[in-house]
Every structure is written in structure tokens, then in C-alpha cells.
């Protein structure tokens, strides 16, 4: 492996970690406007963000958020012939989402300042 390849591997791995780390916030944010079921959340994430989300990741994560008391779920009969499990934020979930968003904005703002010189000249 050349140095350049090793570097791009590292950068890719960093990006994967970054996406994973922000998934929880993204899910909480997708529920901000009201209740959604799993597939709707997945579509919201795919359309509204640059997150490449695997379906096998989101359902266990939703279950964890429910166990943590950040979201609650209920089964709702649908016209499609099978019931769907809808999720919505709890009061604690709203609080957590807002707090996480604040941390995110603060973090992004401070990093953006630091990164500003990097775009100006090509390495």
C-alpha cells in the first residue's frame, strides 16, 4: 500500500466514524416534526442529508433510543394491510436533541474558523 492509499483509507475511515457518530442526532432530528415509522425515517435521512444509512443499523438504533427513553413507539394500523411501528420523541428526547444540536453548532462553528485557511490554497 502506498502512502497516498494509506492516507485515503484513513480519511475514509474517519468519514465513516463521523457519519456513524452523527446518526443518532440525525434520527432524533428527523422526528422533530412529528411521528414517523422506520422506513419514513430512513427516507428522511436519505433525502435530507448526506448520510448513507444502512437499514440494518437504523432499526437497532431506534430500539436503543426507545430503551433510553428518548423516543417512544406505538403500532398503528395502516391502509397497506400491515401495522407499522411509529416513533416519536419523548420530552427527554426533545431536550437531548436540542442539547446535541447546540453542541453540534458550537463545534462546527469553532472548527469552521480553524479550517478556513485550508480551502484557500491547494496542498
Amino acid at each position: 500500500m502506498t502512502r497516498k492509499e494509506a492516507f485515503s483509507d484513513g480519511a475514509e475511515n474517519w468519514e465513516v466514524q463521523l457519519r456513524k457518530g452523527s446518526l443518532e442526532l440525525a434520527i432524533l432530528a428527523s422526528l422533530w416534526g412529528g411521528r414517523l415509522y422506520g422506513l419514513e425515517i430512513l427516507r428522511r435521512l436519505e433525502n435530507g442529508s448526506d448520510l448513507v444509512v444502512s437499514e440494518g443499523t437504523v432499526y437497532p438504533l431506534l430500539n436503543r433510543l426507545r430503551l433510553s427513553g428518548l423516543v417512544e413507539s406505538e403500532w398503528v394500523e395502516s391502509g397497506s394491510g400491515h401495522p407499522r411501528k411509529y416513533y416519536q420523541l419523548t420530552a427527554a428526547g426533545r431536550e437531548q436533541a436540542a442539547a446535541m444540536a447546540q453542541v453540534w453548532h458550537r463545534f462546527a462553528a469553532s472548527l469552521t474558523g480553524l479550517l478556513a485557511p485550508l480551502g484557500k490554497e491547494k496542498p
Binding site: 415509522y37 443499523t57 433510553s68 427513553g69 442539547a99
Partner: protein, 226 residues
């Protein structure tokens, strides 16, 4: 939407393996998980008029293998429980600091001890402090009822200079020398109360000093298992 028999079998096989592997979470939870994944598969399949085995295969591939999926549920559940315990401890310790209630402090110390070594040490020190304080108080209160047995004794063994606090039960050390006599009543009351107060303050101080309140650190800093 029509589902061919082959397709239906593929779906059922996937869900059966999933169900077997998440059973550790409890029957109710396992059925709920399977029902949700079934609902997901049907929702994904519905735009296709006829659901062929190929369509099903591609939907199932998106979910990963059933065992892999089950493993994610299990690890996420463990993580959720660990985080929940942290949140409970966070809440208790914070309330203990704000209300300065001795009862809450002791309860939160037990929670803290279940999470870290620092917590275990603080809990042990607190238990020793409270125990000793209670012993002094009891001794002072029992002295009037058992004047011969309750008191502070210097043990007779010359090589052993340890003191023995007697609470008025059991036998008095043979040839032991009682040090305080009736003074044990006021001294015991003062020492006992002081020990309890100091232990309580020390517990609160340790909480402030060693317990890091990081309610957001868990999910954000842990590098999420996803």
C-alpha cells in the same frame, strides 16, 4: 401486491433466524422486533407488483444477515442499559449535591460504586465513617444501661495497643483498662455526630471532585456502535 411462495419462504426464514437470535431480549421484545422488520420488508416490497425472490433478496441484503442484525440489537440493548445506569447515577448524584440529603447521598454512592473504582472507594470510606459514627453514638446511649459493658477499652496485650469500643454486649476484655468511664457518654455523642457529619460532607465533596457530570458524553463521545 402478490408474494410468491418462494419469496414468502425467504422472508419467513430470515425472520425465524432473527427471532431465534434476539430471544435473549425477552419474548415480547423479540416478537416486536420481528414484527417491525416484517413490516419494513413488506413496505419495501409493495411498490413491486409481484414480489419475486430476487426482489426479496435485495431487500434482505439491505438489512444485512439476520444474525448480524440480531447482534446489533443485542449490543445496542447492552449499551442502552449501560447508558441508562449512567443517567440514573448522574441524576441521583446531582440531586444529592443540590438537596444535600444524607439519604440521597448514600443511595447515589451505591450507584456510583457500581460504575467505577473511585465510587467503590468513596462508598467503602463512607460506610466505615458512618459505621464508626453510629458505634460511638450507640455506645454513649448504652452506657447508662450497661455501665460495666459499654465503653472504650485499652486491650491488655502489651504488644497490642489497639482500643476496643464496647457497645454493652458480649464480654468485656479480661484485664482491659477502661479509658473514659462516664465520659464516654458526652464524648461518644460528640464524636459520633461529628464522624457522621464529616463522612457526609466528605461524600458530597468526593462527588463534586471525582464524578464527572457528562450527560452528553455517552452517545457523542463513544463513537457509536452502528
Amino acid at each position: 401486491m402478490t408474494i410468491s411462495a418462494d419469496s414468502q419462504k425467504k422472508i419467513d426464514d430470515f425472520l425465524n433466524v432473527l427471532h431465534t437470535n434476539v430471544r435473549g431480549l425477552g419474548e415480547q421484545e423479540a416478537s416486536d422486533i420481528v414484527a417491525e422488520i416484517r413490516s419494513h420488508i413488506l413496505d419495501k416490497a409493495s411498490p413491486a407488483g409481484t414480489v419475486t425472490p430476487e426482489v426479496v433478496s435485495s431487500i434482505l441484503a439491505g438489512l444485512g444477515g439476520p444474525q448480524e442484525l440480531a447482534k446489533r440489537y443485542l449490543t445496542d440493548e447492552v449499551l442502552a442499559r449501560a447508558l441508562a445506569r449512567r443517567y440514573v447515577t448522574d441524576g441521583l448524584l446531582t440531586r444529592a449535591r443540590v438537596t444535600r440529603s444524607p439519604w440521597l447521598t448514600l443511595r447515589s454512592l451505591f450507584h456510583w460504586a457500581s460504575l467505577s473504582f473511585a465510587g467503590i472507594w468513596v462508598l467503602l470510606a463512607s460506610l466505615v465513617g458512618y459505621g464508626l459514627g453510629a458505634a460511638f453514638l450507640l455506645c454513649a446511649m448504652l452506657k447508662p444501661m450497661h455501665p460495666q459493658k459499654a465503653g472504650l477499652w485499652l486491650l491488655p496485650n502489651p504488644s497490642d495497643t489497639s482500643l476496643s469500643l464496647r457497645l454493652g454486649f458480649g464480654t468485656v476484655p479480661v484485664n482491659g483498662r477502661e479509658l473514659l468511664g462516664w465520659w464516654v457518654v458526652p464524648l461518644g455523642l460528640v464524636m459520633g455526630s461529628a464522624l457522621i457529619v464529616v463522612t457526609f460532607r466528605l461524600g458530597l465533596w468526593s462527588i463534586g471532585k471525582f464524578w464527572r457530570l457528562r450527560p452528553l458524553a455517552g452517545p457523542l463521545a463513544r463513537g457509536e456502535r452502528v
